[in-house]
């Protein structure tokens, strides 16, 4: 019997994940306004309510499971993936689907096959594509700045203050713009001269990505996650992008642009690292991460959607058990081994 245990708990792990997201959220608010705070709150409340409801229905003790914080992590990751100016019902519906269907109907904490946040995101993306593009313009480019009360009014009623149009507060995302402009026959070089682009990725959003990276490094330092998935995913994405970029820099944007835009950083450190839905073996994690990186690139470059983190993660979630089966590490005392001192 083991009488002692490390002072670790699921709640502590999830708490650290939430803490690590803090810096990115702050950057988000700084560059894109307070809308994200509203959707985060909305998603959190929905998630906790759905979690409690499902636990009750399933006959589980509510308090210890609510305290584990896993529902909040799902809620935050989904809210951070959604456009902050998406209407309230989108956030509530997506979160409810994530918690009720993707998590609890698959067996709850530890048993779900798909990443709940990404399942919710994918559902919304295919069901309500128009609402999923309402990304706020970055602060320095926005013609109008919505105050927090105005934002809340807009999110719940769809009414903007007099004289403000939706176009004035939203804009195409860097990935979106790139995709549409490439189709029109422009070169990468011409397109990225547009004001939405910053030094590496999107203006403002590249700094949010940097904040996700910082949060991810914190998680690594705290040993909440291992390096395998983020490194493999970012490497996979980078390598694929580099390959095509070298082949034709006019049609294929630079690899660092891919790392700095869209859901790459958030996905690599916070989403693909979900232990429940990923493989468990070290080699399996590398394969899983690299495949996600590759899929993200393929979807972004050749697929119908501007970003592909959600679909790439969901596809690889399905493959996780198979990857585990074929990547079992060699157990000590079995099979060939390096010989020690004779």
């Amino acid at each position: 019997m083991t009488y002692i245990s490390q002072p670790a708990s699921v709640g502590l792990i999830m708490g650290k994940v939430l803490l690590a997201l803090g810096l990115g959220i702050a950057a988000h608010v700084a560059y894109f306004g307070p809308a994200i705070l509203v959707s985060l709150t909305l998603a959190s409340l929905t998630a906790l309510l759905c979690e409690a409801l499902m636990l009750r229905l399933r006959g589980y003790a509510i308090a210890p499971f609510l305290k584990d914080g896993s529902a909040l992590v799902t809620a935050w990751l989904l809210a951070l993936s959604l456009p902050p100016l998406a209407p309230w019902w989108l956030v509530v519906g997506g979160t409810a689907f994530a918690i009720v269907v993707a998590k609890h109907l698959y067996g709850g904490l530890g048993s779900n096959l798909f990443n709940p946040a990404m399942a919710g995101y994918a559902l919304l993306l295919v069901s309500f594509p128009a609402h999923m593009t309402q990304w706020p313009a970055v602060d320095m480019l926005a013609q109008v700045h919505l105050s927090l009360p105005d934002t809340v009014v807009y999110l719940f009623t769809g009414h903007l203050p007099a004289g403000v149009t939706l176009d004035a507060i939203t804009m195409a995302t860097p990935l979106d713009l790139l995709k549409t402009q490439l189709k029109l026959g422009h070169t990468v070089n011409e397109i990225t001269r547009a004001p939405v682009y910053g030094h590496v990725g999107g203006r403002g959003s590249e700094l949010v990505a940097l904040a996700w990276l910082a949060g991810g490094l914190f998680l690594l330092q705290q040993r909440v996650i291992t390096w395998h998935v983020p490194v493999a995913m970012l490497t996979g994405l980078f390598a694929a992008a580099l390959w095509f970029h070298v082949y034709d820099p006019d049609r294929y944007v630079a690899p660092w642009f891919h790392l700095a835009t869209g859901g790459a950083m958030l996905g690599a450190f916070f989403i693909a690292t979900d232990p429940v839905t990923g493989p468990t073996t070290p080699l399996g994690k590398l394969i899983f991460g690299a495949a996600i990186g590759l899929l993200v690139y393929l979807i972004r470059t050749f697929g119908g959607y501007p970003d592909g983190v959600a679909f790439a993660v969901l596809i690889m979630n399905m493959a996780a058990p198979l990857i585990d089966t074929y990547t079992q590490p060699r157990v000590v005392g079995h099979g060939p081994q390096k010989s020690g001192k004779p």
Partner: protein
């Protein structure tokens, strides 16, 4: 400096060594009554050789080793045998076992102590003597020492390792022993080396015991023993992990460290060996760490058979909030069900438990597959998968995922953020598999017996049928025979009938032909009397009164 190879995983829990390591080993006073279990080692229990009421001397044999893998048991002091009866013993099952209860007379009179001349004796004879001295591994596994000192089938074991790692938290008995009795340990190691034919001897000590390292270094100075300081990382003291750490060689699955040419002994065993060989003293006491929720944690040299309650009292009675006792360390130890159990050879440490020192684990949450367990597993297992299979009672899958390579060190359970008692699940799965295998064997035997029976019945039926057929054929043949034979048969039948009739008439077959004439005469007289009586009974006299 020897290159260390390391082993996968491992954890470093809070050490809690200083509580008990600061005080010297104190001899425990003699208890009034000692309860000495006959099963204190791996293998067959010793056979009791004393009777209630018998007087025994200190060190006298009271239980004889039974078979090769067994060890003898001796009286820890002089006195009188009160009983040979089942008594609670320190075992996870909590079941009582056969013990010899001795009432001490306080005189401590020894048997004749005969040291063992091991240098010029046949090693096999020396090993038998060691078995009779009751030597077993004092690190906690209590495997009979003489078995481990037999290098066969190899001509010798190249590397002898003295294990002074003591990697479990709280335990300090080896630490103190090395500090205080280093020369004796080295003397014991010399004997081991001689018997094994080892070329190299390594003394391995974790780097959190500087005093022990200094003392052992001093004692090893005039030898070619190599003192290796290993990093403090649980479970470095586990045989297979220590082998890998020192040699880089992995012990093959299901094998022992001797398979890669390494034999490992606990330092306490070396000390006991020295006492047995050089001083002729059987194993009747050991050093026990008493720590945890007691007032003065300390190491005691306690006689085997001393009641736990008395031992714990020596460390200043346990505090009021004590909830029980752990035998061994907090990683691999187990609960003692009562403080009436005696000190045994396996008892390296007793920890008084309290909720303050060992808070009960919060209720287990589901596994989130975080793989912290896999990261600390020294065997590179996937504990999260094994847990899943054990829970699902998918024991075949668990075995395919190397369940039986698990050393039950507890690292996985220690780091689990969901507080799942993982090792309990593995033990459960193992015992289920063992039970099933036993059942399967029994069922196989029963089936074999059943099939054999069916075969036999079938064979007998066939044989009977054949016989009948033969008979039928024979009788048919007889019926078709010519008359003379039939006449002969009829005559034979007639003769048989006559014989029967004669028998009925009282003519017994004559088995009296060889008797001497006087006996014959006597018999004839008896026969005559009988005939008269018979006649009288057939024609009873008319007017009998």
């Amino acid at each position: 400096m020897r290159e260390l190879y390391g082993f996968p995983g491992g954890v470093h829990p809070p050490e809690h060594k200083t509580e008990s390591s600061g005080r010297p080993i104190a001899p425990a006073p003699l208890p009034a009554r000692l309860v000495v279990p006959l099963m204190q080692h791996i293998g067959n229990p010793a056979k009791p050789v004393v009777q209630p009421g018998q007087r025994v001397l200190k060190g006298e044999l009271i239980g004889k080793a039974d078979g090769y893998i067994s060890a003898s048991v001796h009286a820890p002091t002089s006195g009188r045998v009160l009983a040979v009866e089942p008594h609670p013993v320190p075992h996870p099952s909590g079941l009582p076992a056969l013990c010899v209860v001795i009432e001490a007379d306080g005189e401590e009179r020894w048997v004749d102590k005969t040291p063992i001349e091991y240098l010029d004796r046949d090693p096999s004879e020396v090993r038998n003597r060691l078995r009779d001295m009751g030597l077993a591994g004092l690190g906690g596994a209590v495997f009979p020492t003489h078995v481990k000192l037999n290098p066969a089938p190899e001509p010798n074991i190249p590397l002898l390792v003295l294990n002074g790692c003591e990697c479990e938290p709280w335990i300090t008995c080896d630490d103190r022993l090395m500090q205080e009795r280093a020369p004796s340990i080295v003397a014991g190691a010399r004997i081991m080396r001689h018997l094994l034919g080892a070329r190299e001897v390594i003394v391995a000590i974790e780097d959190n015991k500087p005093e022990a390292i200094a003392a052992m270094g001093e004692a090893c100075r005039d030898t070619d023993f190599e003192l290796v300081v290993v990093p403090t990382l649980y479970p470095s003291g586990s045989g297979k992990q220590l082998t890998q750490l020192l040699t880089g060689r992995e012990v093959p699955s299901g094998g022992r460290s001797t398979d890669v040419g390494v034999q490992i002994f606990n330092v306490g065993t070396a000390h006991a060996l020295d006492r047995a060989v050089h001083h002729g003293e059987p194993l009747i006491s050991r050093v026990v760490t008493v720590t945890g929720n007691v007032r003065r944690p300390q190491n005691f040299e306690a006689p085997i058979g001393m009641p736990l309650a008395e031992l714990v009292a020596l460390a200043g009675s346990p505090r009021e909030d004590t909830t029980g006792y752990i035998m061994g360390g907090p990683m691999m130890g187990f609960d003692l069900h009562t403080d009436r159990v005696p000190v045994v050879k396996a008892m390296n440490c007793v920890i008084a438990r309290s909720h303050r020192l060992f808070p009960p684990a919060p209720p287990a949450l589901p596994c989130i597959r975080c793989t912290r367990c896999a990261q600390v597993c020294p065997v590179r297992l996937q504990p999260q998968d094994l847990y899943w299979f054990a829970r699902a009672r998918d024991f075949g899958k668990a075995q395919e995922h190397y369940l039986f390579d698990c050393i039950e060190c507890g690292c996985c359970a220690y780091v689990c953020p969901s507080h799942i008692p993982l090792v309990d699940y593995y033990r459960f799965a193992k015992s289920e598999i063992w039970a099933r295998e036993r059942e399967k064997k029994a069922a196989d035997r029963a089936r074999e017996r059943h099939e054999f029976r069916l075969q036999r019945l079938e064979r007998e039926k066939k044989e009977r049928a054949e016989k009948l057929a033969q008979k039928a054929a024979a009788s048919k043949a007889t019926a078709a025979m010519p008359t003379p034979d039939a006449d002969a048969k009829r005559a034979a039948i007639q003769a048989a009938i006559e014989r029967a009739r004669a028998r009925q008439a009282g003519v017994e077959p004559r088995n009296v032909d060889d008797l001497p004439p006087d006996k014959l005469k006597e018999i004839q007289e008896i026969e005559a009397r009988r005939a008269k009586l018979r006649e009288a009974m057939q024609n009873p006299p008319e007017n009998t009164p």
